[in-house]
Amino acid sequence: MSHENPVRILASTAATKVMKSELNRRRFLALSGTTAGAALLAACSPQSGTGSSPQATGGALEGGLSVYSWGDYDDPDLVNEFTADLGPNVTFDSFNSNEELISKLVAARGTSGYDIVVPTGPFLPQMIENGLLSPLNLDLIPNIKHVDPAFLGRDWDPNNEYSISKAWGTTGFVYDKTKITRELTSWKDFIDAAQNEASGKTSVLDDPAPLLGIYYWANGIDWNTTDEADLAAAEEFLTTQLAPHLSAFDSYPGGAAIPQAQQILMQCWNGDARLGIMESDEPERWQWVLGSPDTELWMDNWAIAEGATNPEAAHAFINYVLTPEAAVRQLDYTGYQTGTSGIEDLARDAELEMLDLVFFDEETIKTMHTQTISEAQQRIVEIWDKTKVAAGS
């Protein structure tokens, strides 16, 4: 991702009333310069946060910790051990999309009560600019040393001041082989099945970008297109061709829809598909298909919300889950690769189940694309909104 995009967006948001301190504006300038910006950024980093939140200094841990994350995204046993070892009780709340996370933080302006949040990479620069995140104190997270350097210093947060990679995954779909007897392999097949065998029993992710992705990937259009003609075509297709066949917008079909056999065809993230199939009474009934010819690659990151009331516990938790042992257990539960060095070997050594839904070869990864946030973002959300409305009528 280039630095061009955030700058363009930020210019348009400069007029907004979203809280912004003078320091924030300095950071905005810092980011708009490219390499020089990075240096400037490093110079004024830890103190330059928006500052109202108590910064973690390594003091005593608080008694509680609130995590606002994607659904079923942490191994509950691991979390219980964290509480047993270090004290803080952890509560989880989940969102369906980055847009939902950001809306909550923007509306609450530091009073959401959430300590840890888990945004996807491309959304980070804007969240930082708008003062939604509080800088990390990396001294309190020594286990960052276990993170593969390839996952550190990504262009959305070059110095990992605000975020550390949590996990990454991709998007595909799952179908019921007892109802769809032919073999589905691509997004085109997904659409065709949704309009035929699975009509009225198809769910899609409740997340704007992957929803539009179905159309773009199936038709060989760049997922990150900002061309209004593409957007209009996507809108037309989704609201009139796909929406009438949809029965749910569900970001986590693995939670209930797959085990309960509520739907026939479900767009879902790989880890959630694995979780759902493993939970099902009849795992052989379900077939996972990685989206093709192209699909998504997302990377979620640990971050701390501005206004967090339990910063010490938040740092301790992030540190706790970064050890290789914890990472393997997280992978085993969630079905997503973490950024831990050598995680694949560790997972294969541990002989975890269904690893074909977790690890992908080089060739396959080349077909996965990272989202970029552009000025089309507002249109994308609008199309998602209209698709939802169209599906309900």
């Binding site: 907004t16 939902e100 804007q126 009225g200 917008f249 056999a261 959300v381 209209k386 939802k388």
Partner: protein, 316 residues
Amino acid sequence: MTTLTERQSASSPKAPRRRPRWMKLPSFALAIPAWAWLFAFFVAPVALVVWFSFGYKPGIFGTHANDVLSFDRYAEALSPTFFATFQNTLWVGVVGTLICLAISIPFAYWLAFKAPVSRRGILLAMVMIPFWTNFLVRTIGWQIILAPSGVLSEALQSIGALDEPLEILFTRTAVLIGVVYNYLPLMILPMFVAFDRVALPMREASKDLGAGRWSTLFNVTLPLAKPGIVVGILLVYIPLMGDYITATVLGGAKGNMAGQMVANQFQTAQNWALGSAMAVVLVLTILTTVAIAALISWLAAWPLRANQKLVLGDKS
């Protein structure tokens, strides 16, 4: 009684003179705390939302801006795409309320007139008991019942009423079952009270007039119980129009209600201006439909009103 009333009218004008000056509170003094509370936490915030509705969304991270005021958000909220959802919501609201009404009238009638008097309290409490289980949990209970592999589906298949699993979840029928279930007690309760209250005059009236059973019901009982029925209708219709959680849990994509649309604007799209306009439209829809319904029932009651007077006259 008469003496007291007479004295009351005689003494009332004197009362203020007897009180010390500091106690001379204006007549609305007791209502001031409620006024203040509702102003601070209802009027002010809702006014803010109305204000937002004339603004626009300024950028990705901007939720609203009001430097340019317009009715554009209302035009957007009423554009065909979103208008369809208002129509659906209205359909679910009206049909749901009517079903509640159809279920409640015979039930409340039975409870007020036919159920053994000694058990009436318990029976009423039983109507309320489901209310003390969280409404989402109750709705999940329905999800379990209505699932294709659920209890109902298997029962219907085993008695041969169905050849295939029941495909009712994530349809509008499921939405209706859910909302009717969740709001039914709100209809039964005031209706029972109303029937109970008219029990005596009704019996006397039918005795005196020797009216037939059905004509008594339609000409006497129902008109007399009207206030309770109206309260019941309002208690069901208004929250039902705003509820979207029941509909989403049971209806999935088909359960998209206006409330969900408003929530989406605030929770995901961050378009507070549009969300506010939709919220205002929703409130106006409710007010308008209630006003129309009131007008219709008022007009329809013309012929009945004469009867009612007759009955009341008879009673005294």
